[in-house]
Amino acid sequence: MRETVKLNYGGAVNAALARSLEDYPEAILFGEDVALPGGVFGVTRGLRKAFGARVFDTPISETAMLGAAIGSAMMGRRPIVEIMWMDFMFVAFDQIVNQASNVRYVSEGRLTAPLTIRTQQGNAPGACAQHSQNMEALLLHVPGIRVAMTSTPQDAYDVLRSAVACDDPVVVIENRSLYAGPKAEIEIGGDPMPIGGHRLRRPGADVTVVTWGSITSRVLAGADRLAAEGIDAEVIEAVWLNPFDHAAVAASVARTGRLVVVHEANTTGGFGAEIVARVVESGASLKSPPRRIGARDSRIPAAVGLAAAVLPQEDDIVGGLRAAVGR
């Protein structure tokens, strides 16, 4: 049943998990501290009580956890596994890059791995270098793995529902700085939507801005500042990075003639480069060179002031957009 409720981002994730566990008797949810403790950010609170043994805690063994997800998915379960920090995924990257990615393809579709990996990434004040990275591009280099990233309570709910319904491995990347954010009215309870697509956050005529993740709010704040200067930016939030809605970007750029991509991840090798390359390859007529705004190619320092010098700030975004439109 569809209903409108007021939930913050973390609450929306929790509601999506609960609904998925209700919808799919074969769904199981596990990870470090997710069951009895309810998750280090409280996002899985109450699910153990509601769903019993289908929600359980695991050893601190990411390889075993992801392998358990793959093997149980091959056997008809629909696992949802939490990797507490994106930075922790790398101790178990084999299970994603070499294992989950290959299940369907190499078996000619005789085996599938309908699993969802929830994780969260990004810098937050004081976070150390091993708890701050934005690594979506690594996953986007791996065919066979779907990837989504959300920044609003509605998308946190909808995208996670779609991920669980998807019959392929999906990594849903959240952001811990959003979990305890403000509540918003969101609609829950409908059928899961197909994966893919984008969100038009702000229509505009002068420049197309493509972004994703928590930095979207910073981009929108920058766009509002520029509106006062007469620069009208169109902001597309790419909640699904694989599959990526290249057609939507192309259509927008065809109207604005300018492209800026903003991500919190490192500029070099970031997915922004891929988006720019696709637009350029398509032969789109551009009024100015496309631009990438991302983190400087650096490690991420813990000190807030130092981190701010590495990660894209609102002023960097505003400056980049001004340059793109030649102001």
Partner: protein, 316 residues
């Protein structure tokens, strides 16, 4: 075990041996390309374990997995077609020698990353605890995989959750090209399982009956919800790690000793010594040769995988 049971084991081992010899021949002739890892000498482990499994049970093997697939019941023709990159292969040529699966036979695949199958097998066993199928899962890996983090992670995960999985370590003395005993302090690999609270046993992996007995006990433990078992099966690979491995790392006389103790020679000698007619024993070989020759002839004549299908099955 009756004489017929032993003859059945011998035939099962010959089928694997002859298949591997045929793949070697096809590789040397250039019909098969790429890296191939043969299991000659280790057949008794696959035959002993798989003989105890039910249809619903699942095996997760390694790149040295042709024999495990065959012991699970995968016919020779689709295996040969797979290594020959034919459409009729178990995976239409996508898996190749080192990464094919045939889940319809309870063979959930080879794996070309050392140790990586153990966590996945653990997940399959996790599913058993929810679907109440009674499915037991076997994961097999070599001695070298014991030094790969995925294996102890999987073993502890399975132990903590009492999962119905059997960890089978084929200890063939070499971690790829390096003696395992040079890479560990305690050569008793089963001690690691014991340390994790997993019942462990060391068996003669060149004796299918001994492997079968250990497996039967492990299956009983698993089906009763009592969790994993670890079986360290001592065996010898009587060929290189891969086709083309010059094996210069082997001490003088080792291969000769291994050839005298390999499971097919041993079981054949035992059967003859126990009064079985030599022709009856030799017939197991002849039947295997006839079967594999016919399968190879068909596989060579089969259609090559179609490049137009290369991008199929990436996503749902």
């Amino acid at each position: 075990m009756t004489t017929d049971d032993h003859l059945a084991d011998l035939h099962a081992m010959w089928r694997i041996r002859v298949l591997e010899e045929k793949i070697l021949e096809l590789r040397l002739a250039g019909d098969v390309v790429g890296s191939v890892h043969l299991s000659n000498g280790q057949e008794a482990v696959a035959v002993g374990v798989c003989g105890q499994l039910r249809k619903q049970d699942a095996v997760f093997a390694t790149y040295r997995g042709h024999g495990w697939a065959m012991a699970r019941g995968v016919p020779a023709y689709p295996i040969l077609a797979e290594v020959l990159a034919r459409t009729a292969g178990v995976n239409g040529g996508r898996g190749g020698s080192a990464h094919f699966s045939a889940p319809e036979y309870g063979f959930y695949g080879e794996n070309s990353i050392v140790g990586a199958g153990a966590p996945i097998a653990t997940g399959a066993a996790l599913a058993s605890t929810f679907d109440k199928s009674g499915r037991v899962v076997v994961t097999v890996f070599g001695d070298g995989a014991m030094n790969q983090g995925a294996v102890p992670e999987a073993m502890n995960f399975a132990a903590a959750m009492d999962l119905p999985v059997i960890f089978v370590c084929e200890n063939n003395k070499y971690s790829e090209l390096t003696p395992i005993n040079d890479m560990v302090r305690n050569p008793d690999l089963s001690a690691r399982a014991t340390a994790l609270g997993i019942p462990a046993t060391r068996v003669d992996g060149n004796d299918a009956a001994e492997v079968a007995a250990a497996t039967a006990l492990a299956i009983q433990t698993a089906r009763h919800g009592l969790g994993p078992t670890f079986i360290e099966a001592h065996t010898r690979r009587i060929v290189g790690h891969y086709i083309g491995d010059a094996q210069q790392y082997r001490p003088e006389g080792e291969i000769e000793a291994d050839l005298a103790a390999e499971p097919i020679v041993r079981l054949s000698q035992q059967l003859i010594a126990s009064g079985v007619a030599a022709d009856t024993v030799e017939a197991t070989h002849r039947r295997a040769v006839a079967e594999i020759e016919e399968a190879a002839r068909r596989a060579l004549a089969a259609t090559a995988a179609d490049p137009a299908t290369a991008l199929e099955h990436l996503y749902a």
